[in-house]
C-alpha cells in the first residue's frame, strides 16, 4: 500500500512516498511563491520518479505552513505532530526533537510510546531559525553548506554580541571589514545559532535521545556547537535526509489513515 506525505515549508517543499512502511521516493525543492504551486510541483516530481500517479495513492497527508492550501491532500496535520512522528521513525529511541525550519524553530518531547508530551515553537523572531544562517551566509558570500563546514577550521571563533539577526548581521559585516578570517566568523555565526536554539531546547527539558530534524541538522558546525552548549550528544540521522522528517511523518499518518487506524 502506498502513502504520501507533503511538507510545504517557507523555503523548501518536501514530498515522500512510502510503500508498506518503507520510503520508495523522496524529493526536496525550493518553495514557490504560492504553497499550492509548490505542492503540485513537488508531488508531480516524486510521483513521476516513483513511476506512479496520484490515483495510486490512497491517502496523502499535508503539513508545513502551507498545509491548508494543498488541493490534493486528504488531511492536514500539524508540523509538530509530523516532525515528532517522522523523527521517531528515523530514530526509534528519540525523546527530544529539535527542528529548525527556514523561518521557525521548534523543540518537542515525546514519551516512550511516541506521544507528544510538550512542545515549544518560535516563529516570531528570526534568530535561531534557518533565516538567521541564510542572512549571515549572504553577507559572507557563502552558501549554507560552506557556512556549516567552515566552523571546523576556525581557531578563534568570534562572539556575536547580540542574538538579533539585524544586529548580528551588522557585527558580521564589521568583522569582515576588520579582516577577521572567514572561518572564525562562520564559527561565531554557528555558535550564535546554537546558543539561541539551546534556549528553546532547555525550555522544554532535554531527555535522551536527542535528535535534530530540518535542513540545519545537516550543518555540522551548528550541531557540534549545540552538543557542546547542551552538554548532551545529539543522535545524527543517517537513514534519510533529516530535512524530510516532517514529510515522512505526514506519510506515516497517511498510511495509518488509509488503514483506517487512529493516529
Amino acid at each position: 500500500m502506498f502513502a504520501a506525505g507533503c511538507d510545504i515549508g517557507s523555503l523548501t517543499s518536501k514530498a515522500v512516498i512510502m510503500k508498506d512502511g518503507k520510503i520508495i521516493e523522496s524529493v526536496i525543492i525550493k518553495s514557490k511563491a504560492r504553497p499550492w504551486e509548490s505542492a503540485d510541483e513537488v508531488m508531480n516530481i516524486v510521483l513521476s520518479r516513483a513511476g506512479l500517479t496520484m490515483k495510486d495513492i490512497p491517502c496523502c497527508v499535508g503539513t508545513g505552513y502551507g498545509r491548508d492550501k494543498i488541493p490534493f491532500v486528504h488531511e492536514a496535520v500539524s508540523e509538530i505532530a509530523c516532525h515528532g512522528k517522522g523523527a521517531r521513525w528515523l530514530v526509534p529511541t528519540v525523546r527530544t526533537v529539535i527542528d529548525i525550519g527556514g523561518q521557525d524553530c521548534k523543540a518537542l518531547r515525546l514519551d516512550d510510546q511516541g506521544n507528544m508530551v510538550k512542545f515549544i515553537t518560535n516563529d516570531k523572531c528570526a534568530s535561531g531559525t534557518g533565516r538567521f544562517l541564510e542572512v549571515m551566509a549572504k553577507v559572507m558570500h557563502l552558501n549554507l553548506d560552506e557556512l556549516g563546514e567552515m566552523s571546523t577550521r576556525s581557531k578563534q571563533p568570534i562572539t556575536l554580541a547580540s542574538a538579533c539577526t539585524v544586529w548580528a548581521q551588522a557585527d558580521v559585516i564589521q568583522h569582515l571589514n576588520d579582516k577577521v578570517s572567514i572561518e572564525d566568523i562562520a564559527a561565531g555565526v554557528n555558535n550564535a545559532m546554537a546558543s539561541r536554539m539551546s534556549i528553546l531546547a532547555n525550555n522544554i527539558g532535554l531527555e535522551r535521545d536527542v535528535c535534530m530534524t530540518g535542513g540545519v541538522a545537516k550543518n555540522d558546525g551548528v550541531v557540534n556547537a549545540l552538543e557542546k552548549q547542551l552538554g548532551i550528544r545529539i543522535k545524527r540521522i543517517r537513514r534519510e535526509d533529516p530535512q524530510i522528517a516532517g514529510a515522512i511523518g505526514a506519510a506515516l499518518f497517511a498510511a495509518e489513515k488509509a488503514k483506517g487506524g487512529a493516529r
Binding site: 533565516r131 547580540s162 539577526t165
Partner: protein
C-alpha cells in the same frame, strides 16, 4: 553661565550649549566610527554656531553609548537620566518619556522634578527601534526623512503580522508585489514600530502626560502611531533629537550652581 551637553549615540552625535537656562546653540551630526572624533566635531560646530570658544564652557556633561570617549567632558551622566531631565525641561507636565533612537528604545517614568522613577530599555532586538524604519526605507527605496509625509497619504488600512524586522521585511516585499500602495505600507510599518515601543512602555505603566523623544519623533507618522498605540495624550517636543544632550547640559548647569549630584 554657559554649560554644554554632548550625546554620542550610535548613529548621530548631538551637542547643546546652554546659557542662563536658554538654548544658545545645538547641533546634530552623523556619528563617525570614532566617538572621540564625533564628539570633537559636533562640539566644534555647536561652538561656531554659538559664536563662542571651548574655554567659555564652564562645565560639560557627556552622555550616550560613546560617552566614555568624549575628550572634553567634565563628567558623565546616563542616557536615561539625561532623557528624563531634558523631557521634563521641555514639557514640565511630562511623566512618561518614550525615546526611540537609531538602535534602541527606552521608556522612562519621571517625577515632576525630572528624576527617574522607573525605566525599561531595549537594545537587544531591532524591532521597535529606528533601525526598523531604516531597513524598510532602504528596501522600499525611499528616504527615511520622507516616511512621515508619505504615510500621510495612506488610504487603505494594512496591518503587518510580523514584529521581527527580518520577517517584516519579507512581508513588506510581498505586499509590494501584491500591488499595495507604498503609503499604506509605510503607515502600517509606523504602527508596527510604535506598537512594539508601546508594549515596552506599558511594562513600566504609562502615565499621562507622555512625550516622545529621539530622532524618530521627527517623523510625524511615527508620532501619530505612537499616540494611538499608547492611548494617552502624547506631547510634541521642540527638540526631540537633542533631548539627551539638553538633559546633559542641564546637569552641567547644576554642577556649576552647586546643586548637582
Amino acid at each position: 553661565m554657559i554649560t554644554a551637553g554632548c550625546d554620542i549615540g550610535s548613529l548621530t552625535a548631538k551637542a547643546v550649549i546652554l546659557k542662563e537656562g536658554k538654548i544658545l546653540a545645538s547641533e546634530v551630526i552623523l556619528a563617525s566610527a570614532q566617538p572621540e572624533k564625533s564628539a570633537t566635531d559636533v562640539m566644534k560646530r555647536a561652538l561656531e554656531k554659538a559664536g563662542i570658544k571651548m574655554e567659555d564652557i564652564q562645565y560639560c556633561v557627556g552622555t550616550g553609548y560613546g560617552r566614555k570617549h568624549i575628550p572634553f567632558m567634565n563628567s558623565e551622566e546616563s542616557e536615561i537620566a539625561c532623557h528624563a531631565r531634558g523631557a521634563v525641561w521641555q514639557v514640565p507636565t511630562a511623566r512618561t518619556v518614550v525615546d526611540i533612537g537609531g538602535q534602541d528604545a527606552k521608556a522612562i517614568r519621571v517625577d515632576e522634578k525630572g528624576n527617574v522613577e522607573r525605566y525599561v530599555y531595549n537594545d537587544k532586538c531591532a524591532s521597535g527601534t529606528g533601525r526598523f524604519l531604516e531597513i524598510i526605507a532602504d528596501s522600499l527605496d525611499i528616504k527615511l526623512d520622507d516616511m512621515g509625509s508619505i504615510s500621510e497619504k495612506a488610504t487603505e488600512k494594512l496591518t503587518l503580522s510580523n514584529q521581527c524586522v527580518v520577517f517584516a521585511e519579507t512581508e513588506i516585499i510581498s505586499l509590494v508585489n501584491d500591488g499595495k500602495e507604498i503609503a499604506d505600507i509605510v503607515h502600517a510599518l509606523h504602527q508596527a514600530v510604535a506598537n512594539r515601543a508601546a508594549s515596552l512602555a506599558r511594562s513600566i505603566l504609562v502615565e499621562s502626560d507622555a512625550v516622545m523623544t529621539g530622532g524618530v519623533a521627527k517623523n510625524c507618522g511615527m508620532f501619530g502611531a505612537l499616540e494611538r498605540a499608547l492611548g494617552v495624550k502624547l506631547h510634541k517636543v521642540e527638540y526631540p533629537q537633542i533631548n539627551g544632550a539638553l538633559g546633559a547640559a542641564l546637569f552641567a548647569a547644576d554642577k556649576v550652581n552647586g546643586t548637582g549630584r
